[in-house]
Symmetry: D2
């Protein structure tokens, strides 16, 4: 039977040192996060610069994360690509190295054809051959496509598809999906900018870039809703909006990594062709972190 | 001093009979709505097919609505166009005929240039010459442009700009705006698909197509939030999503008018080049209304 | 019987002096253009800031242009809006004041519904009630909608619809339309950036912002193609690309007007909320004009 | 010194039999194309369903194509992905198996950051480490990003970057690029819908889905332009537009493969999640091929 994935997970950044993956730095970051209320970790997500990693690097990353995990934390690996064959292979290889579940992007290259029927075919074929549970991943700003509620409703019936991460900021879309799926199917908010409304609409949790640098605040926001403290939750949401914007739409992965460096994690530079923040941007980011109370 | 526009208002449809505006039918609809908890009415909004009306028809519409209004209800007139000069003139003519406030679209023709500075110039000039309070109107799906929170924050300081109707379903955008403006500036949700999350984030109310056919439900949803009954509010939101989708993104104004006919209002056909629903679509719509409990 | 509208026409800018339309300045500009090989003029087009003009200003503009016209030049007035009723009324009023034809924008507010059937309804109804020939106007960058070749093919059979101005830079779209309409239906290129490929594909001429400041060059390009001198035409096209970009996508109407001032026309400032060029932009524009050989 | 890649190349489809790559069928198709005036072949392009292939399948495909090649034909392999490291590795592996050059997609995942500076970094790093010449590949409809002329101009100076395939139908963009690069840098048209205007603007040739099924017509069109026969070239272009539309924007790869089956090539079905044509679509396609004179 499906288990709901309740809670907050960061899509962890991939640390690089001199251009190579710094697996030890990932372990250090995870050691810090292990002390928080995070439900687990997602490696090889969008904020993990998955598209810049080789297959070999990806599998080592899963191994490194598995070894650094504390008891009870979940490990989810981002393994999706347009190729069904490769997605299945990579997912099973990740499972063999310790991933508890896989997060699989909607296929997106042939955008005109990527409608509900194609999504149903894709996820049904992948989920049927992967040995761990699968969470679908909708992120229109990176893929240019959107999976609609009707397709999610069909796929939610598949025994090996346990959830959907929705990174759209369209809360109507999220609410429509939640209204279309069974209780035990986990809809996860994909960006902290809509964490409060998403959870209030019934989402099970969130996979949030912001959880890399503000894990406690994200966990706290969910706790407040659980206790019915909506005013406090909404107030916390407002406080987090500017810092979340800085590390996502404004500065992207480079901003997230710079913030990590400021807050005692290993951030480092993104991989080329992404560029690190310019000095002026870094100063603005620092001010934003201070205003949000994340930095003294 | 600015007064918050709390509550729910329908952007009322414009009834046509044999191609001409049926002012009497509008009066009949308003008479029905007068018995509900609606805060007032918006004429000449997007759902009022404002873009299909002549200037003369618009002013008669304001007169007809003013005459039909019951005590205490607000009348807001949609008067915006790209032309500052014409927007001021039409706004004042509408005010002379009874409009309590005007709802003014963001200018949008020269999309590349319609950034924050242009929006600030436009609304400052318009608001400075209009004799009633002004509510800004952001509706990206029709205009192709979006007013960002930084521009709203500046304009919210203008003494004659009292609010913003935001029809974007991006709740992060709405929350960011709410966090950027003073308490007495009214952010109004522009579509019922995000009514619950918008109100929960601090919106003052909503201008909602759905309020044409389900005024009590929309008012009830806001009441529930006021009483802290979030679970009930969220459940009601879910129930309203399919019917709201049918009368907005799925079938548009033609769907909204068909639903009005089914529910005892005067709906009628939209003006050309919009087309009325096909028979099959009407049947589907009826089923959707029944499922939502709006129709027996 | 329909006559092809061969040749080049500028969508003339609307001059403002202290915020009011400077009709005399328009007359002076036209007097200069009358000495060139331009086929005529379009008033109240996109570059004429039509959306910023009141109805009264528009009609005076037609009168002023009519009075300034030299023998044999065509006068076309942009009269389209989403409202069929108003478009017909304004078109006939413009015709009464001397317009030889009207240029009518595709309706665009209800974008989801603006498909081929709606366009066919709209233009059939408008063209059937306007007393001068009608040219359709497709400009996706401002309207967010596109009229497809199948709808143009149907409408090209209407006796009062004589052409289409296509401002899309997608030459495949233009070529598909040309292949779908009769010989006597005039497809007009809508931007000088694709003048050569459009004419080479069979377009009858062009309505071009660039023709405001480089009328002779635009006319020359068409003459070269008529004489089969494709290499020269293509070379001239390349020379015009940077200056055309500066006065359209880069700086818009403000850039076009600034260039007019530099070249001895009355340009002036655009109407608010558009802003005039900044000093630095003006200097860059001057360099671009010099490189293109338009300015010494 | 760079050599211009003149001529027409099909981005060859990848044949599948029972879900596996049918390398022998590719060889048969190439044997047929070897008798035409095609300049060579592109494997693993967008029409080759590259995104559905595993790394192992890709390398075998290069080997199979190399073995099937007739003397003098070029073999180009599509090897690009967001990962610089993997793109270099795959490119060199393809070169080792016989690829004469590689076609490398613009990176596109982090769309907001994929501006000129990022493209310059990406292609400079890749081209500096690949042992065969590199052709850049711009295809906005699949990637959601566009490389601008200023970045192409910089990259055209790199000794190992010999050209750009531009699949945008915006001929202004293509002409601007051609005007910005040296003579020996090859701009290749990426879709037959704009073959004539692209070549007339100075493009060196085309990599065209249509060349899979109409190689002679595409080659003929380029020959006509070379001989200055623009009227004939433009007429041939018009004839090819409907069939090209059918196998690209209308039916995509499934349509192209169905057309190949109708014309004596091995087409077969696309890989899931793409779906084969429905029967009705196949009939329409057949009519389109007949009208274009490609099928008796």
């Amino acid at each position: 039977m499906k288990q709901r994935v309740n809670g907050i997970l960061p899509p962890v950044t991939t640390p690089f040192r001199n251009g190579a993956v710094a697996y030890d730095a990932l372990a250090q970051n995870i050691a810090k996060w292990n002390t928080t209320g995070l439900r687990g970790y997602v490696v090889m997500g969008s904020n993990g610069e998955s598209v810049f990693l080789t297959r070999g690097e990806k599998l080592k990353l899963v191994e490194a994360a598995t070894n650094a995990l504390s008891s009870g934390k979940l490990l989810i690996a981002g393994t999706g690509s347009d190729s069904i064959k490769e997605t299945i292979a990579l997912s099973n290889d990740a499972a063999d190295r310790g991933a508890d579940a896989v997060l699989v992007l909607t296929p997106s290259f042939y955008k005109e054809q990527m409608k509900s029927a194609a999504f149903v075919r894709y996820f049904t074929e992948v989920a049927g051959s992967v040995r761990v549970p699968l969470i679908m991943y909708n992120v229109p700003k990176f893929t240019g496509v959107t999976i609609e509620a009707d397709a999610v409703a069909v796929l939610a019936e598949h025994e090996n598809i346990i959830g959907l991460k929705n990174s759209s900021e369209n809360t109507a879309h999220t609410a429509e999906i939640i209204a279309s799926v069974p209780e035990n199917f986990s809809v996860l908010v994909g960006t902290a900018s809509v964490l409060y409304p998403g959870l209030a609409a019934g989402a099970a949790g969130g996979i949030l870039a912001l959880a890399n640098i503000a894990p406690n605040e994200c966990v706290e926001l969910q706790r407040l809703i659980g206790e019915g403290k909506h005013a406090e939750a909404s107030a916390l949401q407002k406080k987090l909006i500017p810092v979340n914007k800085a590390i996502t739409s404004k500065y992207g992965v480079a901003g997230l990594k710079a913030a990590m460096d400021m807050l005692g994690y290993f951030g480092g530079e993104p991989r080329s062709p992404l560029a690190p923040l310019e000095e002026k941007e870094g100063k603005e980011l620092k001010i934003t972190l201070r205003k949000a109370g994340l930095l003294d």
